[in-house]
């Protein structure tokens, strides 16, 4: 583990329309690790991803978000992106009239080390399209317009590989995908890890997408709070038991004793 974590969130609280959604989140991700954020629907997982990215729809009411040792609370989303944070959207937006290739060029403009012009850019695009089973003709299509769910996620992976961010937050990138598209997303994550030793925060319900990944840490969120953390074995435990136990604990249900490592021992031993 490196001395300074890549992402360090301390006491983070965030609200939308004066309603607090995130309560005192603490989360640390060292560089090069793969973390998974799990939790039931409405737990605030996607909100956390958006708040890290600086989505103006949410107001950060407390705490700090430090990235690479720098507090980025005051940074706009484009500056966070240029600092090395990437958020893959659960539902990527459509922007009619903007060809994908034009958009991609804009994303790499003025990024030291990534600036490419003319032929170099097109060659790189061809390579990435081949790796993601994407016809290069997609590049001439309007961003997101008429794309299927799977195609949109491929375009997200394409950007991940193009931008090579220090931290990639993948917000349910696997949701609603068929087996083939799921394979492409998995390959995209693998390529990202290999190509730049990237750091991942994967927000998901689906443990299947994690099968081929070496997960370092799992965080469980319930009702806007991180209620549990553990190693990769926690994934199998959740796969078997779901989130009910965590939800009960968060609700202060006396019928269930506080979740201890002993509760997970069976899974851990396996």
């Amino acid at each position: 583990m490196s001395q300074t974590p890549l992402l360090s969130i301390q006491g983070l609280a965030a609200a939308v329309d004066e309603k607090t959604i995130l309560h005192g989140i603490d989360l640390t991700i060292p560089a090069g690790e793969t973390h998974v954020l799990m939790g039931p629907n409405g737990a605030g997982k996607s909100t956390l991803g958006h708040v890290i990215m600086g989505d103006p729809a949410y107001t950060q009411t407390a705490g700090t978000i430090a990235f690479d040792g720098e507090d980025m609370t005051e940074l706009s989303p484009d500056k966070r992106s240029r600092a090395g944070v990437f958020l893959s959207f659960q539902a990527p937006v459509e922007i009619p009239g903007v060809p994908l290739s034009s958009f991609l060029r804009a994303t790499i403009a003025d990024r030291p080390g990534l600036e490419m012009r003319g032929k170099e850019f097109r060659r790189r695009m061809k390579e990435l399209c081949a790796e993601l089973d994407m016809p290069p003709a997609y590049l001439n299509r309007e961003l997101g317009v008429g794309f299927s769910g799977g195609e949109k996620k491929k375009v997200e992976m394409l950007q991940l590989l193009l931008l090579q961010p220090k931290l990639a937050i993948l917000d349910e990138t696997d949701s609603g995908l068929d087996v083939d598209a799921l394979g492409v997303v998995s390959r995209g994550m693998e390529l990202y890890r290999k190509s730049c030793d990237g750091t991942l925060l994967i927000i998901t319900h689906n443990t299947r997408i994690l099968e081929h990944l070496d997960v370092d840490r799992v965080h469980v969120m319930v009702n806007g709070r991180v209620v549990h953390e553990g190693d990769a074995s926690l994934i199998d435990w959740i796969d078997e038991h779901g989130f009910e136990r965590f939800e009960q604990e968060a609700a202060g249900d006396s019928s269930g004793a506080e979740l201890s490592p002993a509760d997970l021992s069976a899974v851990i031993e396996r």
Binding site: A57, D78, V98, S101, S102, L139, N140
Partner: protein
């Protein structure tokens, strides 16, 4: 500055309140511009060996329409709708008054003839607006040549014909497939135009590309119209013919571009029009179509960009007269800087066009706060069993779109540049040939330094 003024250009057929200042436009052409420029045609010689002129094709259609009307009217009184009777009566009264023969109200009927005769005391006769009267008279006359119109209007057509000196007729023979490219280029201080008639015989396919190019005037002094390039086009699409027209209007921020078009569609004809308007201090694009034949179809796809203080003025008038005809107008544009744009789109579902459908949609992205956009969709309808639809999406970048762009490192300022770049890149990628593409790149380079380097690959490179 002395200027030739063309008033009431690009006029809506059924005007709305004058104070909205969008019924029409006024074109001011500096007298300093000298007729000149260059015109180039790339087409097979056989296209010029025309067996049929535009007028001849219209006359032939007219003969068929007259014969069909005579058959339909056999044993009947013809079109005796109250609005037609009213229009005819009013017209007759005016004619009589003009002759000095009508001294008293009620004598107008003496000038009437045939079934359209209407007694002045006929209380069923409705009061007609000027537009309704004109429409009723036109329907009663069933005269294709008289009803023919072009989008910008007769005065602009006369001016462009003057600049062009002569009209070029390109004709495709029956069941053949032809193509032609026409370029009009104007350099600084020049006004150039071309007048084209296209006659596509039954069953033929005709692809026409027109490039209005005033990008060579780059670097001319500001605040003066540096160059003018224009076209006036008449198209007759014969029975089941297919005509595809693409017009690229490319000019520097000091250029004026005029594109005046008129179409007649015979039975089952299919016409696709693509307008790409990217530059020019003032561009005026007008298209009027007489969708006369049954089951004919017209599709119009318009892409435009205006930046700086440029102005775009569009007028589309589609009169659907045949049964089961279809028309679609789709426009997509980006307005940046302090640019202005008016787009008038009129679908006229004329009496007798049963089973027809017309649709118009426009998407305008307002990339900055200072732009002035007017979108004026109009649907006129004098028939039942028809469908007319219109819709417009006008707006700034939505917050979720902006956040998406920002999350990928594209700031709000860079987003505006992106929308401009995207429009240019789209036009370059879909340019019909390398010369047009080169002009798009030249224009792009002037707006965005480095633009050419980014997309200098041939089209197949991205395919």
């Amino acid at each position: 500055m002395d200027a030739l003024k063309i008033r009431h250009a690009n006029a809506m057929p059924a005007p709305t309140w004058g104070w909205l200042r969008m019924n029409d436009t006024q074109i001011e052409i500096p007298m300093s511009l000298a007729p000149g420029g260059s015109m180039e045609v790339d087409a097979e010689d056989r296209l010029f060996d025309h067996a049929m002129s535009f007028e001849g094709a219209v006359a032939e259609l007219q003969a068929r329409l007259d014969a069909a009307r005579a058959t339909a009217n056999e044993g009947s009184a013809g079109d005796d709708r109250a609005c037609v009777r009213a229009a005819l009566a009013e017209n007759a009264a005016r004619n009589v008054a003009a002759d000095g023969a009508a001294e008293m109200p009620g004598t107008a009927e003496t000038a009437e003839s045939g079934s359209a005769n209407a007694p002045a005391a006929d209380l069923e006769l409705p009061a007609l607006s000027r537009y309704q009267k004109r429409a009723a008279l036109e329907e009663a006359a069933l005269d294709v040549a008289t009803a023919f119109e072009t989008g910008i209007g007769a005065d602009a057509r006369a001016y462009l014909n003057f600049l062009a000196r002569e009209t070029m007729v390109l004709a495709a023979a029956k069941d053949t497939q032809e193509r032609a490219t026409v370029r009009v280029e104007a350099e600084a201080g020049e006004a150039a135009a071309v007048s084209i008639d296209v006659v596509a015989a039954p069953g033929s396919t005709f692809d026409l590309v027109i490039a209005l190019d005033a990008t060579a005037a780059m670097g001319a002094e500001d605040n003066a119209t540096a160059a003018l390039a224009g076209t006036t086009l008449r198209v007759f699409a014969g029975s089941h013919a297919r005509v595809n027209v693409t017009v690229y209007a490319l000019g520097t921020p000091t250029a004026m571009l005029l594109d005046d078009e008129g179409y007649v569609l015979d039975e089952g004809a299919r016409v696709n029009v693509r307008h790409v308007v990217l530059g020019g201090e003032l561009t005026v694009t007008g298209l009027a179509a007489d969708v006369r034949g049954d089951t004919a179809r017209l599709d119009i796809d318009t892409r435009y960009l205006a930046s700086g203080s440029e102005q775009r003025d569009f007028n589309y008038v589609v009169r659907q007269r045949g049964r089961k005809t279809v028309s679609n107008m789709n426009a997509n544009g980006v307005l940046a800087g302090t640019s202005k744009k008016v787009l008038r789109g009129t679908i006229d579902l004329v009496h007798g066009c049963k089973g027809s459908e017309g649709s118009e949609q426009e998407t305008v992205l307002l990339a900055s706060e200072g732009v002035d956009n007017k979108t004026v969709p109009t649907i006129l309808c004098d028939e039942d069993d028809v469908a007319g639809n219109h819709g417009a999406t006008i707006g700034h970048v939505r917050p979720e779109q902006l956040f998406y762009l920002e999350s990928r490192g594209v700031s709000a300022e860079a987003a505006e540049a992106l929308f401009i770049r995207a429009k240019l890149e789209d036009a370059a990628l879909s340019a019909p040939d390398e010369r047009i593409r080169a002009s798009v790149l030249r224009l792009g380079e002037a707006l965005i330094p480095g633009f050419t380097d980014d997309i200098d690959a041939p089209k197949e490179d991205a395919a």
